[in-house]
């Protein structure tokens, strides 16, 4: 089982991101569970969401305390939240940032790091700084947990071709640094 934690802000679509990822997983015959820490959070406040993906049916329903992967949707969230909390040793951080993986490595020396400037891609392609679909591209590139084609499919079902292009661009632009 792979467990993923998403960090974003209210209004940025973290829930949609986890749902789309789970959908892509299910499309390729995997089991998945997508959920979030819901609350009365208002736009702008930090939010957390989760995805579980497994070959077997998923039974456990607790929160995820020790994720394999952490994804950030918001470029400034790393300044205010401890995004690597609980991340498994040798786990992967997929970060929306203008900084390179190398620069980020300084803050997170013990983890694999993937980085992409998702905000810029989103602004350029979608006209809004909403990075949830974009970061799916980065996640797939960094971890290969699902196939890119399936992400493209679920994104195009829900949104449109422009979003798919954004996913692809993020996929291509994402830079990685192993642990």
């Amino acid at each position: 089982m792979i467990e993923i934690r998403w960090h974003g802000r209210g209004g940025q679509g973290a829930v949609t991101a986890t749902e789309l990822l789970a959908k892509a997983a299910v499309k390729q015959g995997l089991n998945a569970q997508a959920f979030a820490m819901f609350g009365p959070e208002r736009r702008g406040s930090p939010v957390v969401a989760f995805t579980r993906i497994d070959k077997e049916p998923i039974e456990v329903r607790s929160h995820i305390y020790e994720p394999d992967i952490v994804v950030t949707l918001d470029s400034t969230i790393i300044n205010i939240v401890d995004i690597s909390a609980g991340l498994k040793p040798r786990g992967t951080l997929v970060i929306n940032s203008k900084s390179s993986p190398k620069e980020l490595k300084e803050s997170f020396p013990n983890f694999g790091i993937a980085a992409v400037d998702a905000t810029s891609i989103a602004l350029k392609r979608l006209g809004v700084p909403i990075t949830n679909t974009v970061m799916l591209g980065a996640l797939v590139k960094a971890t290969k947990i699902v196939e890119l084609s399936n992400v493209e499919k679920v994104v195009s079902e829900r949104f449109n071709q422009i979003n798919v292009e954004a996913v692809k661009e993020a996929f291509n632009e994402t830079l990685m640094l192993e642990v």
């Binding site: 089991n31 959920f35 819901f38 039974e59 329903r61």
Partner: protein, 393 residues
């Protein structure tokens, strides 16, 4: 029999989808977290013409259940859903719905009750409704929620039953979690749960009076009658579940024991926590621990025999309550189960675990700990009968 590609749906969306397929006539509801996305989705279906129904977003839950009641009395197939404060506000009308024998189906996305206000999951809202005379299911997954809604109309509208049904689905944990759901086809649903204009309805061509005034000469009899109807619904509930199994490959039973036969320690639970417990049991079994669990799928009528049968060989049982009953002997489920044990002349040591109130997360380790404690009980070292799992203090 499962179709190749499932839908990925939250519990709430799975239910809305079932309601669409069930071709419900009247939906009357009021928003409250975490139930709201059910009715949002239904309102979308209705706006798009995918479901032909009268969708009423009324001015309170009290009116929502009242309108469902009278719409059902008029012969319509009706649906509502609520949670927490909304469910409590319906309290008075819940009793009336069952006593008038009206087949209203309601989904409760279970949530804690105020004060303080908290929007997360526990069973604090539903437990105080346990006397209302409704059939009450607890589901473990979005799939089961979907399946139970389809079964529910068959049961509720059965002429032997004619009782309202609540389907309890843990709020947030199930209502808002997306997971794979295998729906039936529209025609399968239509033929499994066909709508029949109920015989006794508000019909000018055959007038009748519903809900009159009652002297002491009749009250006991009429209340006994509906109480008896609830007891007698048990075999029908079983039957419908089995038929559903034939159609879909999925049937649930009234209780579902897991690894109970040779288990020394057994946990009894309801709702979504059961899947985490099941996972824990598997894990502990791999380590050779003789543990088991049983999940009550049906809470009212209480499946006494089925439950006793599954736990009778245990050396210690733990009963999980997701709600307090302050000042009572113990939690609501614990009281029910131990009373059932008492009647069955059994004396297995039992402890009450209060777990996951107001959204307090329940981890596999928590459950492992419960089993550890249970194991110690037969040694007599443990005196406490109530544990507040995860409580700070």
């Amino acid at each position: 029999m499962q179709k190749v590609e499932p839908f990925l749906l939250s519990g709430n969306l799975a239910i809305a989808y079932a309601i669409k397929q069930l071709n419900v006539d009247v939906v009357s509801a009021y928003p409250i977290t975490p139930q709201t996305t059910i009715i949002e989705k239904i309102s979308e279906y209705v706006a798009k013409g995918e479901l032909k129904a009268n969708f009423m977003l009324v001015e309170s839950e009290h009116s929502a259940i009242s309108a469902c009641l009278s719409a059902a009395a008029s012969g319509a197939r009706v649906f509502t859903s609520s949670s927490s404060q909304g469910l409590l506000l319906m309290h008075e009308i819940l009793f009336i719905t069952s006593a008038l024998r009206l087949p209203v189906v309601m989904v409760v996305a279970n949530r804690s009750v105020s004060a303080p206000i908290n929007i997360w999951n526990d069973h604090g809202d539903i437990m105080p409704q346990r006397d209302t005379g409704w059939i009450q299911f607890f589901v473990e997954s979005a799939q089961e929620a979907y399946d139970k809604v389809i079964q529910a109309y068959r049961i509720a509208e059965d002429h032997q039953v004619r009782l309202p049904i609540m389907i309890n689905m843990d709020g947030i944990v199930l209502s808002h979690t997306y997971e794979p759901v295998y729906p039936l086809s529209d025609s399968e649903v239509a033929s499994f749960s066909p709508w029949n204009l109920s015989l006794k309805r508000l019909d000018p061509d055959d007038f009748l009076t519903i809900g009159g005034f009652c002297y002491p000469d009749y009250y006991f009899e009429t209340r006994y009658q509906s109480s008896k109807a609830l007891e007698d619904s048990l075999p029908i509930i079983s039957k419908v579940d089995k038929e559903f199994g034939k159609l879909s490959g999925r049937s649930y039973g009234l209780v579902s024991p897991f690894k109970c036969n040779d288990a020394d320690t057994i946990l009894v639970s309801m709702g979504s926590i059961s899947t985490t417990i099941r996972a824990t049991v598997k894990k502990l079994r791999e380590k050779g621990e003789k543990v088991g669990m049983v999940s009550l799928r049906l809470f009212r009528p209480f499946p006494l025999n089925e439950l006793i049968k599954s736990i009778k060989n245990a050396k210690a049982i733990g009963i999980i309550d997701r709600a307090l009953s302050p000042g009572a002997v113990a939690g609501p489920l614990f009281t029910d189960v131990t009373s059932a044990l008492y009647l069955s002349k059994m004396s297995i040591p039992a402890v009450n675990f209060f777990v996951g109130l107001g959204g307090r997360d329940v981890k596999i380790e928590d459950i492992e700990n419960m089993f550890v404690n249970l194991k110690k009980i037969p040694t007599g070292k443990i005196k406490k009968h109530s544990y507040y799992v995860g409580l700070r203090g």
